[in-house]
Symmetry: C2
């Protein structure tokens, strides 16, 4: 299904700005910060971008996550989220070196038991370390080749 239709299906108008943002997010498994998107779409108004991300989140198109620095990031919802209540039951990986954040769709958040009177509703799992690209670069210590660009 095309991008325009996916946006419209959520009751949102498929404006050019929204198509750009949604397109970028769907094309990768990355969680983007506002700053990253702003740098990508330099003509886009700052406030408009904030509102697009908020609207997408409310519509269940993207989910909001926080990286190891506490910065807000947005990533596409691959498993359709029912409205504002995001399942978001997968794990995120944050690279300490390049700062990029990956959605590991395939990895579910683990089960965990906690003591005390806590009623558990869900959990966030954020793994950090080195992503493949950075990892590889630091080991080999010479410029990586073009194929590495395809990893993400």
């Amino acid at each position: 299904m095309d991008i325009v239709q996916q946006i419209r299906d959520k009751g949102l108008k498929a404006t050019p700005a929204r198509q750009l943002v949604y397109g970028e997010l769907t094309r990768s498994h990355m969680a983007f910060s506002h700053a990253e998107l702003e740098a990508l779409f330099i003509d886009m108004d700052r406030v408009t971008l904030y509102r697009i991300l908020k609207d997408f989140e409310d519509a269940g198109l993207v989910h909001k996550v926080f990286d190891t620095q506490g910065s807000t990031r947005f990533a596409i919802c691959h498993h359709t989220c029912p409205g504002k209540h995001h399942a978001e039951n997968h794990v995120h990986f944050n690279c300490n070196d390049c700062g990029k954040m990956f959605c590991l769709q395939a990895v579910q958040t683990p089960e965990i038991n906690i003591p005390g009177g806590f009623k558990v509703a869900g959990m966030h799992t954020l793994i950090y370390g080195s992503c493949e690209k950075c990892n590889h670069q630091s080991e080999t210590n010479f410029p990586v080749n073009k194929t590495d660009e395809l990893i993400e």
Copy 2:
């Protein structure tokens, strides 16, 4: 060991403000936001509080965590952290109702395997739901008694 000595042992001067902050943090297993501490110590300068928390973090006295809203919180390091590198291998619980955040010292972060070329350095586990107090209040629906104040 007393608070003054613990602060001095990290090479920091045990000023009144630092004693107040460190005292509050040690007395509970809670992770405090800057705003919560500011409300607690109304005469304390905003910037001073920021610097105290930063100094404590650098010294390994407290660790920084982020709650489900992405807000920064600080909690005491119960297992002595070597300088800036915090072990912080325990789980945190964030109450959706009262917003408070608890350090579950007894619960270690689970083991997890992830695919791809990621090199894992560590992980953050944040569980959310209802804390005992809020949980209990919503069930009973009448004012809780004084003993509930002791739960934390």
